[in-house]
Structure formats: C-alpha cells, structure tokens
Symmetry: C2
Subunit: 335 residues, 2 copies
C-alpha cells in the first residue's frame, strides 16, 4: 500500500448499518425458544423483532452498529470521522444520530419517512457473558448509492465499509460507488468481512469486489480462512494476492498485518485490565489501524493502536470506548 | 395504621411520571451553560430538552421514573405490582412499557397520540458522581382521573403516588380519585414528596391532601422539615398529627418510621458494597417498606427491606435493581 500523501479533511468515513442496541440479561432457554444463535448475530424481520422484544427482559438502549462503533473510536483517538448510514424518522433514529454528532462525527443523512423503522440489535446476554445478537435491519439496510456523498468520501483518507451491509444488493452498489470516488480522489478503501455468514453467503462476490476496489481488508482468522479457502500458513500468500494490506485478527493472540510489498507485521494483543465483554473488539481494532494509517503512522504503530483500542473496549460492557483513546495512546507512547 | 387484612391481588400500584432516562457524562461548565441545578431535578420544556440533548455527550437510555423504579423493585422482591402513567405512541413510550411489562407489572395505558412525546430525563453525570437531571415531562404530565383504573387501585394493598406528579393539576385530580377508590375498597394510599421543590411550591395543597387521603407518607429529612415547618425533634410530633405513618429517610443515617399509634421505629441503613450512584435510593427504599407492609410484615422488617433495596440500587449505575431483591432479602433473613 502506498502512503496517503495528500492531507485529507477527514481521517475515516465509515459506511455501515445504523443500529441502536437493546441489551438485556437472558438465559439459554430464551435463546433456544427464539432460535437465536448463541454468541452470533442472527438477522430477523420485524415480526420476529417484535416477538423477541416482547419476551425480553427489561434492558438498556445505546447506539451501536459495527462501523459506527469504529468511527466512534476514531473520534476518541482525536481523529476526524464521518458516517454514512440510514435511520428512520423515529426516536431511535434521533438517538443514533445524536450519539454520532455528539462525538463530532459528520453525519447528515436525511431520515427515511414512511418506511421501516430504525434498525435495532436485540442483544441477549447470558450468565456466561456471551452476547447473542438478533438484528432487525429496518431502515439501515436501505443504504444505497444516493447516500454516498462524493464530498464526504473524497474528503476522507480512508473510507471503511461494513461487511454486514454487503448482504444488501443496493448497499453493494453504494460500496462500489464509494470505491470509485475514493480511487478518483486518490483515497483508500477499506472493508471488514464482519462475520462468517457474510463470507459464506457472498464469497464469490467478495472475491470479485475486493481486488477491484479494496486497499485494506479486515478479517478475523475464521473469516479469512473461509474467504481464501486455505488454512493458517497459506493464508498470508493468498491475502497478498487479493489485497495490498490485510489485517487478520486472532483474538488474544493479536493480529497480523499482511502487506503485498513487504514482510508481515505481527502485532501482540494488549491484555485488558479485566475481560468483561468482547463485543466491539473488532470494531475498535479496525479504528486503531485505520486512524494510525490515516494519520501517517507506520504499520506496526497502527496495529498497536488497534490492539490498544480493542483492549479498552473489551474491559467494560458496550462496544464504544469509555476512556479517551487519545489519552490512552499517548500514555502508551503510541501517539 | 391498621393492618391490611384482606388478601389483595396486587401488593402495590404506583402512579407516576412515565420517563425514559438518557444518561451521559458531562461537566460543570455544561450544567452552567444550560442552567441545570447540580445534583437536582429541573423541569424543562421541549425546546430546552432539544437544545440540551443536542449539546449532550453520547449516552445510554433506560426506563426510569421515580414511582416506576419503585414498582420495578416491588417486582424484584417477588411482589405483584401495577403502574399508572402516560406515554406517547413513540419508541421511548414502547421502551418504557416494555421494561415494566417484562417485569410482570400490570401496565395497560393506551399511549397518547398527536400530543407531546414520551417524557425523558436528561441526566448529566459529572466527574464527582453527581447526577443532574433535566426532565421534559411531555406525555407523562397528562395523567388524569381517566387513567386511574378503579379495578387496579381496588386490587392493590397500597396505591403509591409520586409527588413529582402533584405539580400537575390534572394529576392531582387523579390522585384524589385514587384516594377515594382506595378508601372505598379498604386499601391504603401512600405518597412520596419526591423533591424539596414539590413541597416548596405545593405546601398548602399537600397539607390539605395528606390528612384527607394519605395513610403512608415518604419524605427525606429536608422535605419533611419543609413540609412541617419544624426541625429535627419536633418533626415526629408534627408527622403524627398529619398522617398515620410517616417514613423519614436520612441517607446513610437510615430512616425513622413514625406512627400515630405507637413508638417510632429507627431503621439503620445498609452500607452498600460500593457507593456508585445514589439515584433511585429513595425509590428503592419506598419499595421495601411498601412491599413489607403490603405482604403483612411488621414495621421494622418493612423498614429493613427498604434499607436493603436502597443499598443494592446505590451500589451501581441506574435506579433499578440489578440483583434479585427477593434472593437478597432471603439471604438477609428478611423474607
């Protein structure tokens, strides 16, 4: 990957599912009754969302969405971020927009009226600290090419695409448009695979999309193995062929930054003060890497910023950072 | 106070402001800028709510409302509760209703349409752990006599009124109706003064309403002194004249249960495992006392259930219990 040498107005613009999380305590019987995959993410329609919510325990609500969590971390690093996503004209949509704007993130989408309501992710937390997600995509899945602002994408060093959205044909068109704008403006495009099921259901399309558009690919070990169809050692070679830079995360074993042009960089994980909730670890890791690269740091520093952000986010409930990541990174000599 | 000797279907029905809390970190400059009383509760109109929210940090949302918190604790004690309050037909209203119903609390209010939106309490938490509340009452303030279900009040051992609502003339009519139904059904009526400003602005009306309707009065020391116009020692005599039973709370000094017919009972506070957030202490204390009395326990046990519930609630963020109060009370030999 070549350096980003023009000074962009924004570090990262993220495109993703604009989702409000609803979090409540639950048990295995509940997951079984509602056919929710334990520890995973299940897409549900509105009637199922209504039925599950009616049966869920009392909960708390906060803004989520994978790429939105990432850009929230970018802001916490002191970076300038933007967000492209779709909410409805309802309370949850207003909460989602508020929570991004309050972080100084550019987010100007006009809410959808008369269509589906704002997306919600019903998160049932079992006593073993596993979080099982059932997501009603609602308005979020309607991100299309019209939502991709040329000004925003052209102003950002990196545009970061959430793999979950790759499931929606109209969003895939939006991704291609973002890729074209980024390329024309001399910017970079990044994508995360998000979840094994995304790879499983869209492998061929991803293998076509990535070499055409993507400069930076994020995947965990399982997703990478599914995408490339090879295991451990052969992974790096396959990744080099597909994409200039691939970041492969391996939970507590850290990550590998695999470049086409140079040696791979192994990045250790940062053990959290306490492990409370792993949700958002990948989102935070991506933020560190993206902020590092977008602000001109070297690969290893970028990776270590990613490990640091992930460590902060898994030390408490909720996928957005509670400590200031800039302060934390400075204290660790990374900024 | 005579014993509650018929077996009621419900232990407690609460009438209150149906509010969703929005909680975010803040600082003193923010409070000053928006003229929010530190540590207190300020009533605001919708334009101010919009302006404050737009300026607030990203936050989390959960159901609140003082009397609703109390009835949530009643449910946690294993009690049967009901709730009367007003929400709008919007996301926050659905969240509020969900969170009560999911606890098994009877709540059947038809949401208001076309009027103000569901009430929200904007809670700004400063670094010194103080929570400063700015409340837009919206639909909540529209509780009127039509909302007071005769079946619900007659079915409950005790109907518990939230003093904040005493500010609204139409709610005051609802309170009087609840008092009449409770009396006719041989049930008890309880009220909490909620806040010094409620007493300050409605002292004469309270001094008229209480002897006419109320069997159990909840007040903290400051509110009680404001209501009775006397200090410490003289308080008990004044309370005895006004109401059969008065529970006076004194933070970490515990509480006094002052009865017209017998000696006052001093109840020690239960020190929390850790003091995190005092919001909801009074709501939880009232729940313990009400559940104790409604389930036929003696005064001292009722008071100790109150102290125990308050201790649980102040040991974490949020005004609703996170541990099962029934289990906790059993472990402490109180149930």
């Amino acid at each position: 990957m070549s350096a980003i040498n023009e000074k962009p107005e924004l570090h990262v613009v993220a495109v993703g599912n604009a989702i409000v999380d609803v979090i409540a305590n639950s048990d295995d019987a509940f997951l079984k009754k509602h056919d929710i995959a334990k520890g995973g993410m299940t897409l549900i329609d509105e009637p199922r969302a209504t039925a599950i919510y009616a049966d869920m325990a009392a909960g708390i609500e906060n803004s989520g969405g994978s790429a939105a969590n990432t850009v929230a971390c970018i802001a916490s690093f002191g970076g300038r971020g933007g967000y492209i996503g779709k909410v409805a004209d309802d309370d949850l949509g207003r909460i989602f927009a508020h929570d991004l704007k309050s972080l100084g993130i550019a987010f100007d989408a006009t809410p959808m009226s008369g269509g589906p309501s704002t997306a919600r992710c019903l998160i049932n937390v079992t006593k073993d600290a596993q979080r099982s997600m059932a997501t009603f995509l609602g308005a979020a899945g309607h991100v299309g090419p019209d939502d991709v602002s040329e000004d925003l994408v052209a102003a950002a060093a990196i545009t970061y695409l959430e793999g979950y959205l790759f499931e929606q044909p109209v969003a895939r068109d939006a991704f291609a448009k973002a890729g074209d704008i980024a390329r024309a403006a001399g910017r970079k495009l990044a994508i995360t695979l998000s979840d094994g099921f995304v790879v499983d259901r869209n492998r061929d399309a991803l293998l076509e999309f990535i070499p055409q558009h993507v400069d930076i690919l994020f995947a965990n070990q399982v997703e990478a193995e599914m995408l490339f169809g090879v295991k451990a050692e052969a992974l790096d070679d396959a990744a080099r062929k597909l994409c200039p830079l691939t970041a492969i995360t391996m939970s507590e074993k850290g990550s590998r930054l695999v470049t086409r042009d140079g040696p791979s960089v192994a990045v250790p994980a940062v053990p959290p003060a306490q492990l409370v909730d792993t949700t958002g670890a990948g989102d935070a890791y991506a933020a560190g890497v993206l902020f590092g690269l977008a602000s001109g740091r070297d690969l290893e520093t970028a990776g270590r910023l990613g490990s640091l952000a992930a460590s902060e986010v898994i030390s408490h409930f909720g996928a957005r950072p509670q400590k200031d990541l800039k302060t934390l990174a400075e204290a660790n000599g990374l900024l």
